[in-house]
Each structure stands twice: as structure tokens, then as C-alpha cells.
Symmetry: none
Subunit: 222 residues, 4 copies
DNA sequence: GATGAATGAGGATTCATTCAT
DNA sequence: TATGAATGAATCCTCATTCAT
């Protein structure tokens, strides 16, 4: 995120009382974003455990002390980063995918749309993958991590639900989890390639999901 | 791979020179296995980066010094462990799956058999998953890791090949990679559950793979 | 002692130049008191070394920057605090105890009065104890600390002198130091208790001092 | 403590099995003593909080890592040091002072003996004073510190008891605490002086205690 | 070979102090 | 002045690795 240097030129009088404390926070907010971006880079490069706070600070171009002015510890950085990514992801698909009518939208489209959307998001934020995927993430973070995962699964369940009305809940959960797993696996391949090859993997992923889900759906829709 | 080239300060008869080292190597081999087992435990518990050599030595019931008598550094442990696991895995399926005639063995069976075999192996050796899955594995190891992965992929390609004779090589590679990815994703879910639920996930994994592959195969077989 | 010599960039009339600074000093004085109060709290809670300037600023409800507008460094805070406490203490007993005539006032009364007075002061200002008592106080502060201590000792010598006219100076000094030490020891016990128990310790302290000093005094007075 | 270089020259055969692990521990034990000595020096110089583990290691002539091979953290060093000092102190006076018969031993002697013994101990181990006296000692250590203090008080109570048979327990406790406080105050003065002046302070301390306690004792003995 | 001690660079974190606004 | 962000040296502690025995 580029330095926005928002003009602090006195705009009005009424907001002055609010402005003073906010101008301070503005710089802080910028720093926080900057640090989280740096953290995203470092995390996705080295993984959480091997990432050093000094490296993050260096990547952000600040001193270690500055980092600790905004985050109490390394964990908190990962947690905040995860939570922000999740928020952004939620927004990203909420706008389009929420209302899905199986009678109107065919599975193909749902899958293709969802995958495209998620892939786009994950290509923009490779840290998301690092955070979701780390088997070395300790303690408190795992919770956040799990929450993130659970949210994803729930989301998929929600999308799935209208397509498989008769299915028992545990089966739907299993399917949703499987979908998320497949998606992550595909994502890894996609992120590892570029250009046409990447596109090919995207298609491959869609195929896997479609073939996996169609039979389930078909029973109902047809 | 542990240091092997130690010169026995040639000074005795051929038999003696071979005998003593051999006994030593026997003890050494035991130590090495012991250490690798410990490493497997620690790696699969904490991940590679967070695993400390001291912890591995402790787990193995030896002193840190002893560990370094057999491995030059931490990396070497992971590499040797990975290589051994791969060997064992290879043997594990070589004995049965090598000759597959699509005309004789239906895809269902191939998939079910392969999955069962791999799953059994991976449940016996959870470290394999940890090693394949770690995004935090630094430098040199990644190569071994990749080699391991590549071997797996090649293996799957080999299995796949007779079923999709007309397919272009890159497509087969993509499919194989996708299969390995799906398998790893399924494995994670399987390892995370027990009993009936685990079985359900095993079945789910087979379903995914079968549905994914049948269309490809069908074109040919039918 | 806070920076005072700030040049008001001489540019106005004498009155203005005096007036503005004065108002400033007034606010400044309040800030300083505020900060010293906060410092007293923090010092007596955690000791000098463990006290952080940030904590003091927070306790005072100001930013760290503000603190450094009035004190050049942490040491200066302790020094100024000590010096103010000493001043207040001096005033506190000067008003009553200065003129003591052994022929008129019996030792019992002198001791009881002095102890009560000091105790009252120290209960009001627990930081005094923390400052006098800290063995962890570094460098320059020790001097101030010693000055404070020396002042106390001198004061006690002065009180003692008329009661032991014949005694050699070094002996009086020793006795005075011993008294101060005993007082501090008693004070610690007193501050550690409340209510009736506290009163009991106060009495105990008076007993100790009385029994210690009476023989010395008795030789003369009787 | 000087390096003892105990001769490991094979002495016998029977103890060999015990000797091997012990020789290792021997070096370790030596290091521990060395480190504790260094810690004693540093603690009594700078106080607990300001003492850095690096400084302790440096003082002991070892690397920081070595220190942590024997102590899990800074606290543990202080705790172990305190506990060792207490043990040594206990031994120091247990041998002589345990059986005191008021009818046989006059108070003067008891006090003089006890003080001399304690003073000798504390001059040998100035860290004891630092540890008992620190107002900045955090958390867990305070407990050990308090235990140390409590032990002292109890010890004094035990010594006192036979001399004041009729006194109520709380009063005895108060008196014992007062004695310990007076002792610590005197100790500070004693440690701060040398030669004849030091002796004079020792005498002064004895006088204080004697005059404080004689009235209590007198009631009974007479 | 085996042991446990030794090393020291590096990592997370704190804190006195300074600076831009 | 006041603020809060910025700094970087210093702290506690860990860990891969080496060494003496």
C-alpha cells in the first residue's frame, strides 16, 4: 500500500477536536498496514515459525521497536493478518455469491464463479495460503487459523446446502471439508505456475470439483 | 545421509578390516534408525523449523553430541528421513501395483487399492505428511522434498498412463499432480479423524479421485 | 530538576516576558507535580530500576514525550522526587522539633514525637521509603540518596546533641546512623501492617529507640 | 572457588559405572557454584532487577548459553542462590546455638554470639543482604525471599522463646521481626565500614539489641 | 563412540530517549 | 507544549553446532 499522505490541511473547524487524535492514528494505521504487508511477504516466504520479527520490521523499513508499538508480539501479527484477510475474503464473495438458487444457477457456474473468485483473492494475497497451510503454527494462532478454516468450510456448506437438500448434515460437512482441501491443493498448484499453465490448473481444479459435486447435486436437481 | 567414508586406518587383514566396521556400522545403523524415528516424531509434532536437534536427541534418548556423530546437521536428518520414507513407500506399492492392465483391473479397484495402500503407509508414518506438507522447509531440504514429490507424481503418472493412452504428456502430468494434491488434502482430513469418521473420509477421497479420473479413463476403456 | 533556562526569545516588554513564562511555569509546575506523583506511585510499586518512564507517563496520564519536556531523564525524576520529599520532610519537623531543651522535654517525648511525625510523613509518602531503601539505584542517584540519608542523620545528630553533651562526635554519628537504620527497619514493618498491628509496631519501634538511647541520655540528665 | 581439577586417574573398578556420569556432573556442579558466585557478586553490586544474565555469565567467565544450561532463567539463579545461602546459614548457627538455657547462658552472651555468628556469615556472603533487602524483586522470587525472611524470624523466635516464657505469641513474633529488622539495619552499617569503625558498629548493634531485649527477659529471669 | 558441557550468534521483546507534527 | 510514533541498543533466552573427556 503506497503512502497516501492524506492532506492534513485544515478542512473545517468542527472536526478539529476529532482530527487531532485521528491524524496520529492515521500514521499508525498506515504503519500497521505496512507492517502487515511486510509480514504477509515474510510469512509466505519463510513460514510463520521461521519468520523473524526483525525481518518483518526490516521488510517494512522500520525498526523492531516500531513493530512492537503496534503489535504485542509475533503471534498478534499473524492473527491480525489472518483476520484481515478473512474479512477481505468474506467481502470479496459476499457481494456476489450469497443468493444462489439451484434452479437458476447451474453447478458449473457456481463452482467456476466461486473458484475464480477465490483464486483471484488468493493470488492477490499469497499470505493467506501460507497462513492456512502452516503445520508449524503454534498455540493461539492455531485457533485463529482453525477459525479461518472453519469459516471457509461453513461458507462452502452454505453454498452447498441448497444443492443437496436431502443430505445429512455430517455428510455435507465432510463434502465441504473435502472441497476446501481440494481447493487448497489446487491453489498450491496454481500459485506454483504462471500464464497458460496456471490457467490449465485452474480449469483442472474446476473439473475436479465439478465432477466431485455433480453426482450429489444431480440427484436432487434432476 | 550419515558419514560413511571413515577410513579404518588400514592396518589389519581384509576380514578384520571389514568385520569391525561392520559391527560398528550395525550399532551405528541402529542409532541412526533410533534418531530418525525420534526425528519423525518431533517433526510431525512441531514441524521442521520448530524442531530442535536437542529435542530430537532427547526423544531418541541420546546426547546432542551423539546425534552429530551421525548427521552433519539438522537438514541432513530431514533429508535422510525423507529419503528412507520414500524408499519404504516405493517398496510398499511396488510389490503389488506395478503391473496394471486397464483391461483387467477396473479404475475403481486401482484407485481404491492405491489409496488404501498409501493411507496405510501414511498412517504408519505421519512424519511423511509433515515432511511433504511443510511450507517452512528451508533451502536444501526443499530439493529433497521436491524430489519426493516428483517421485510420487511420476509414480502416479505411471499408474495413470495405461489408462489414458492418448493423452498428451503435460495433461497427464497435470492430472497426476492434481491427484497427489487431492490425496494429500484427503490424507490431512483422514489423519485428523478416527474410527468410522476416518473411514468415511477415506471413502470420500476415493470418490473424489474416481469421479475425477473416470471421465478421462472412460474415453479410452469404453 | 527540570530544565528552566529556556530563553523566551526576548522580544517583548519586561512584563510580557515575565508574565507568559510565569503562566507557563504554573502549568509546568502542575505537570511536574503530576509526573512526580506518578513517579512516586510507580517507584514505590516496582522500585526504581524496574520502573519505566513510559509507565510513569501513563500513570500521569501524559505521553512519554511530555515527560521528557520536564525531565531530561529517568534519573532526574528520582532525584527531583527525592529532593522534594526531603524538603517536605524538613518542613514537617522543623516547625516543631527544632528547639529541644533536655531539661524540659524528656527523651520519651522527643522520641515519641519524632517517630510519630516521621511515621506520619512516611505513610503519606511511601515513595520516600522506596527511594531510601533501594539497593538497586544506580550511579548519580545514589548521591542524592546519600545526601538524603546524610540529612536525616545530621538531623538526628542535632536532636541528639543536647542530650549527650559529653559524647565524642564519632560516637554521636554512629548512634544517629543506628537510629536512622532502626527507624527504617521499623518503618518497613509498620508500612507492612495495618490498624492495631501497625500501632503495635509503632510502639515497638519507640521502645527500641527509647531503650537504646536512654542509657546514653541518662548519664547526663540524671 | 578455584578449579579443583580432581584427578580422574582410574582409581578402582567398582565405582567406574558411577564415576562416569559423576565426572560430568562434577564439572557441572563446579560451573553452577561458579555461576552462583558470579551472580552473588553481580546481585550485590547492582541488585536483582538491574543484574543482567549476560553480566553474570561474563563475571563467571562463560558464555550466556552456558548459564542457561544450568538455570532455566534469571529467577532460578536468585532462588537457588538464596536457598544455598539459607542452607549455609542454617548450618552455620545450628551447630552452636540450638540448645540455649536461659538459666545458664545470659542474654548478653546469646545476643553477642548470635550477632557475631550472623555478621561473620553475612560478611562472607554479602549477596545475602542484597537478596533479603531488595524491594525490586519480582514475582516468584519474593516468595523465596519471604521464606528466607520467615525462617530467620522463626529462628529468632526460637531463640527468644525460652527467655520470655510468659509472653503472648504475637508479641514474640513482633519482637522477633523487630530484631531481624534491627539486625539488617545494623548489618548495612557494618558492611559499609571497615576495621575499627566496623567493630564499633558491631558493638553498637549488640547494644541496641541487648537494651531492647533485656527488659523483656529480665521480667522472667529475675 | 558417547556424553554433557560450551559456544555465540540470533530471535523476541523492552525501554529510555528523540522527533515530527 | 503535547502527542504518539520512531529508534536502536540491550535484555532474556534458544538452539545449531563443537569440544573435551
Amino acid at each position: 500500500m503506497p503512502e497516501k499522505t492524506e492532506k492534513p490541511t485544515a478542512e473545517t473547524t468542527a472536526t478539529a477536536a476529532e482530527d487531532r487524535p485521528r491524524r496520529r492514528q492515521a500514521r499508525g494505521e498506515r504503519r500497521i498496514s505496512q507492517l502487515l504487508e511486510a509480514a504477509a511477504t515474510v510469512f509466505s516466504t519463510t513460514g510463520y515459525t521461521a519468520a523473524s520479527t526483525n525481518a518483518i520490521a526490516r521488510e517494512a523499513g522500520v525498526s523492531p521497536g516500531t513493530l512492537y508499538q503496534f503489535f504485542p508480539n509475533k503471534e498478534a501479527i499473524a492473527i491480525e493478518l489472518g483476520s484481515r484477510l478473512m474479512h477481505e475474503m468474506r467481502q470479496s464473495y459476499d457481494e456476489v455469491l450469497t443468493p444462489i438458487d439451484p434452479a437458476v444457477t447451474p453447478v458449473e457456474e457456481v463452482i467456476a464463479g466461486t473458484v475464480d473468485r477465490f483464486i483471484a483473492f488468493n493470488c492477490r494475497h499469497p499470505a493467506f495460503f501460507a497462513l492456512m497451510h502452516g503445520p508449524d503454527i503454534p498455540g493461539r494462532i492455531a485457533e485463529e487459523h482453525d477459525a479461518l478454516h472453519a469459516t471457509l468450510v461453513t461458507r462452502v456448506e452454505t453454498i452447498l446446502a441448497p444443492f443437496v437438500p436431502g443430505a445429512p448434515a455430517p455428510a455435507v460437512t465432510r463434502t465441504a471439508r473435502m472441497c476446501v482441501g481440494i481447493y487448497m491443493a489446487g491453489l498450491e498448484l496454481i500459485l506454483a505456475h504462471e500464464g497458460a499453465e496456471r490457467e490449465a490448473y485452474v480449469q483442472e481444479l474446476k473439473d475436479v470439483l465439478l465432477r466431485y459435486l455433480r453426482p450429489l447435486v444431480g440427484d436432487v436437481v434432476k
